[in-house]
């Protein structure tokens, strides 16, 4: 038997004519693909993950990464990747890990939905000339307001529950310090502060360097409760209970002890070198009434000054679960879809559990409206928002705002090699290796993220203007601005949208 039956995935080609032997590739690769010994390059391309770092950093364009197409015999049933995964399992005896979101070819509903625009009877609005309002508030709303005073001179009676103000309906998803580098977290924090939106600490506690950005911070409480104390809870603008994650519904997390270096240990409040295990369930939440207790525990701990969000993975019964969460006292419900990313998840779980965010948000929004409680809570979509059009579509399907995670990391250099769990990220994003993490400069990273979101906001305004809408609130749940193409009737019904060509 040969040592390994697994065909290598990628081939690295070096153009000797172009190569000036500067050895940038050797230094840049986090996976040891390029070595230089005795005046010669040694290529370990069986280690290559196709993250493109060497290709992009090579000053003479001498490198190229190719898919290893020579093998194996084509089989429509046994795909290459399923055979490769099977052999890896056979050789390692371990469940396969992966990173980022599900990359399988399930239907992408976003790509089967088209948006509307005004013509004639309803003038489109030029966002450069007219006010175009995209400010969004997240938090619980009272069923009604009360006033005193005579008509025209009314005053509000009482005060409203706390809310989080977003200058645009988009936020950076939860990513813990540990899963990503400190510089990556700082890039998002700075961008969020500049844009007037939020970033999320994830479940890893708050690194002291993030303290200046507390006004734009969501602090997360997950099943491992890492770094959670009253200072932490009170430091952000909002608290998020993480029940589940779209990339690994029903599964906990595991940061191996060797990654728990001093800074992470301090931030998480655990011993250095100890495994950081997030159990699959919260061990104090075995049912909805326990969740209610945790929500109110957190509200007590924050003196009812912070809205509390509950984040769940989109699973088949998501609508009923969301309804329970709303009734349990959550101010915000966050639903994370099938395509949501992760730093590490079992590949089988990531690729086979959950449902697309488009269907999930639509189902949750409809259910909450049927129960007459949709206006009480805010609904945040996460998992697979790729562009401003996706953002508009998910808002029209019922979300108040969306989290972006993968999109933010792509802006910082991620090439979706899905090897986050190795800690070798050549782009300095999903690694704690100081040699690699300094590749992200928080100032430049923040600028890239800020550019990205500003463009999305501009595009969002253009979409709204085209529809003749000048306040983002009029987009929310506005399914009549959507039409489906290439979807069967039952999927259109599930999404609550009409077929393209059908009028109002």
């Amino acid at each position: 038997m040969p040592r390994s039956l697994i065909q290598q995935e990628f081939l690295v080609k070096r153009d000797e004519e172009r190569c000036i032997e500067c050895k940038v590739c050797v230094r840049q690769c986090g996976f040891g693909v390029h070595e230089y010994q005795d005046g010669k390059f040694i290529l370990n391309d069986h280690n290559c993950v196709n993250c493109q770092r060497c290709v992009i950093m090579c000053p003479t364009g001498a490198l190229e990464i190719l898919e290893n197409k020579g093998v194996p015999r084509r089989n429509a049933y046994w795909s290459e990747h399923s055979v490769r995964d099977l052999r890896r399992q056979a050789e390692s005896g371990g469940s396969l890990l992966t990173g980022m979101g599900c990359d399988r070819s399930y239907p992408i509903y976003f790509d089967h939905i088209l948006l509307n625009a005004s013509q004639v009877s309803n003038p489109s609005i030029d966002p450069l000339r007219e006010p175009m309002e995209v400010r969004t508030y997240l938090g619980v709303k009272p069923d009604k307001l009360s006033f005193t005073g005579t008509p025209g001179q009314e005053r509000l009676v009482g005060s409203l529950p706390p809310v989080v103000k977003l200058e645009a309906p988009v936020m950076f998803s939860a990513m813990s310090f540990g899963s990503i580098s400190k510089n990556t977290a700082l890039s998002m924090a700075r961008a969020a502060a500049e844009l007037g939106i939020m970033f999320n600490t994830g479940e890893g506690g708050m690194h002291p360097d993030l303290a200046p950005y507390q006004d734009n911070m969501i602090v997360q409480v997950a099943s491992g409760r890492f770094g959670v104390d009253s200072t932490y809870l009170n430091s952000g603008r909002m608290v998020e209970i993480k029940i589940g994650q779209g990339a690994k519904p029903g599964i906990g997390g595991h940061l191996p002890g060797e990654k728990v270096k001093e800074e992470i240990a301090v931030t998480r409040g655990i011993p250095q070198g100890a495994d950081a295990i997030s159990p699959a369930p919260h061990h104090d939440i075995y049912s909805i009434e326990d969740l209610r207790q945790l929500i109110y525990t957190l509200k007590e701990a924050t003196n009812y000054q912070k809205p509390v969000s509950v984040k769940i993975a989109a699973v088949h019964n998501v609508a009923a679960i969301a309804s329970g969460i709303a009734r349990a006292g959550a101010d915000i419900i966050t639903v994370d879809g099938l395509r949501g990313g992760t730093g590490a998840a079992p590949k089988m779980i990531r690729d086979h559990i959950g449902l697309p965010i488009e269907l999930a948000i639509s189902a949750v929004d409809r259910r909450l409206r049927q129960e007459g409680i949709r206006e009480r809570v805010s609904l945040v979509a996460a998992g697979g928002i790729r562009c401003s059009a996706d953002l508009v579509k998910i808002i029209c399907l019922g979300a108040d705002a969306a989290y972006i995670g993968t999109a933010a990391l792509l802006a910082l250099g991620c090439h979706l090699c899905q090897k986050c769990y190795t800690g070798n990220c050549s782009w300095g994003i999903a690694t704690q290796d100081p040699y690699l993490t300094r590749r992200i400069n928080p100032e430049l990273g923040a600028e890239r993220l800020s550019n990205l979101i500003k463009v999305w906001i501009h595009e969002l305004k253009e979409f709204m203007g085209a529809m003749g809408i000048n306040a983002v609130e009029s987009l929310r749940g506005n399914r009549l601005q959507l039409r489906g193409v290439g979807l069967p009737r039952n999927e259109l019904e599930q999404l609550g949208i009409k077929q393209a060509g059908e009028s109002m």
Partner: protein, 376 residues
Amino acid sequence: MFSEYREFYDYDNDICEGKVRIPSGCAIAGLINRESKKVKGDTIAKMMAVMHERSNGLGGGFAAYGIYPEHNTDYAFHLLFMDDQSKKEVEAILVKGFRIEDQQEIPVRRVGAHRNAPLVWRYFCSPLDKEREITEEDLLLKTTMRINRMAPRASVMSCGKNLGVFKGVGYPEEIAEFYRIDEYQGYSWIGHGRFPTNTPGWWGGAHPFSLGETAVVHNGELSSYGANKSFLENYGYELSLRTDTEVLAYAIHYLRSQGFSWDLVSKVFAPPHWVEHERMEEPERELYGALRRVYAGLLMNGPFSIIVAFSGGLMALNDRLKLRPLVAGEAGANLFLASEEAAIRRVCPQPENLWSLKGGEALISRVEEESACHVA
């Protein structure tokens, strides 16, 4: 999509959506006498007739206030039926919640294009005692929703006290003729000429839309319709008439049932822009911030001019960007509102004041008030 409407129209001979296309816009008009003096229906009909070119014959209608003083304690249901069977079904729904005190076919002239018009009846009703565990407002809403579910076979034109809506497919002056509205006298009137662009032209889809004590006419298109619909569905409203204006009627009903003044209703429909909000002083700032946060789903987005009639008053409002015309004119105790100045001058050649409403600023006028109107 609208195949169910087909059986009620003779597409070759009847006027229907898609058959006629004249590039123009909707027309709206309103008038009120703040000394409660009764004005005959021909005044509003004349105002509408001047604006003939703004509609295409696919819908016209009027609402009149103060027309049934002899029945002023009863709810006056104005109902449309396509056939006798529908009428029977509707009556069965009505008697579940109401005692019918009086009923009659609304007097009409079945001539010309309207010889095959639907049946139009009015029922003066008082709520049954056994339904007293819900408020009369809720009973009206429940009954209206039940009847409108039958649309297009039947629909409620109006159901308020001492008021009535008269509407149908045709030019407003034809509808006035059909319903003989010159025979009614009211202290306030609103009228509408329709030019439907994205919803079918059918009798129930004509304006005004009315629920309870209010009626609304609308020129414009609500791009926020889908969002407004989503909001209202939380509170038991069913949008069954397939036209954007329906949300206005229900939004008004919802907000009024929450105790909102007309000033506040206008600020929900057309809230100050955030930039204006930032310049406000407390406690105004807090009030408008809270209104926007809680009732953003009822923000009316897109071009509109509306005139809302209610017991004892009128409210007129334009969208925040002022994308539709709306002119007001005052003469003595009379206030006139119309899409075009010409409509006002037709019935009041020399108004004392004449002005165009500003975007997002409501004009509210009540009977028996010191001043004819105020701006909110």
